[in-house]
Amino acid sequence: MLPDKLSSNLRGTDVAGIDLATLTPGFNDTVHDSQGVFRALLDALSRPGKIVSIDAVLPDLEQDGSTAAAHVPMAAFAALLALADYSTPVLLQHEHRGLSDALRFHTGAPLTQDHAQAVFAYLHDAGSMPPLDAFSIGDPETPENAAMLFIRVDSLDDGTPMTWRGPGIRDSHAVHISGVADSFWQERARLASQFPCGIDCYFVHGGSVIGLPRTTRVGVA
């Protein structure tokens, strides 16, 4: 993966306008840290509802001059660093200089404003999310082309009780995520009929994530 990334960066990716003096450093050990984060994200998606911790691999964000980046949960930053590359346009719901510079520099990923084009999206404000059908849900033949959302929430264990069922869950799992708009759950339920197309989500808070794959059925208890 690296040679590809490198040559593409040298060829064309525009890194102009990135302020290197205040740029947030990425992983200390790019290869192993990204593998660790990838593994954690995989675990989270295989066991929907389980709180998976992926902290303690990134340099402290606050210390490095990028004050605004402090508000982005470590887990979201780590996940995007590990997953994004030059072929995956990333959408940020709100303009965020520190995060966008770091993603462009460390991963070479292009940033996009076009929801349908985004492969990964970071949604900072779960209360006012764009409608889910704005994002790509993939085609029946290529369902892997769907968007993956990282949604920042206020809490992963203190919210409206929900019951999740589906693959990866024995019987049912009680989940308490707070701060997500009701419309999200309704829109998501409507996508279920389009399987294998659909959208996979991660709810992020601090250094932890909960995975919500498209196959999970969510019931509000």
Partner: protein, 163 residues
Amino acid sequence: MSTSAQTPAPAGPATRREWLAILARTPRASMKAALDTALDGASPPEFDWLRAPDIGLAMVRGRVGGSGDAFNLGEVTVTRATLRLRVREGRAAVGIAVHMGRDKERATLAALADALLQTPAFEARMQEHLLAPLAARIAENRAQKQARAAGTKVEFFTMVRGD
């Protein structure tokens, strides 16, 4: 890579473009020696990696005769590194290095030299003790090569048949 465009033998202090070209053509041993001399026993300042040295491939493109259609000449291994000096206040200098080859330590030294050259406290010493000797070495190598090539020069002339 445009190796012939800039001549690394500047009259005044080298600009960043020139010193990056000089550093890119300096082998590790000379760079280390010159950097040690320039630092004069002082330990190099602390820095953080923005991008730890990594190795990858870059496609080199060329044109026949400098004016033909561009074609892919081949891939070269490239080592790149980006570091940032730790400063207590003010803007931190950022040093970068992108080199042909797989020598991570050389890229580290070059990136450090680039950052120091942008730091006022070190700039004069670095220009004098690091860049000047390295530029002279490159110029000398080039002159030697030219002299060797000039020795093989053959003058062709055409005999004009007398009427």
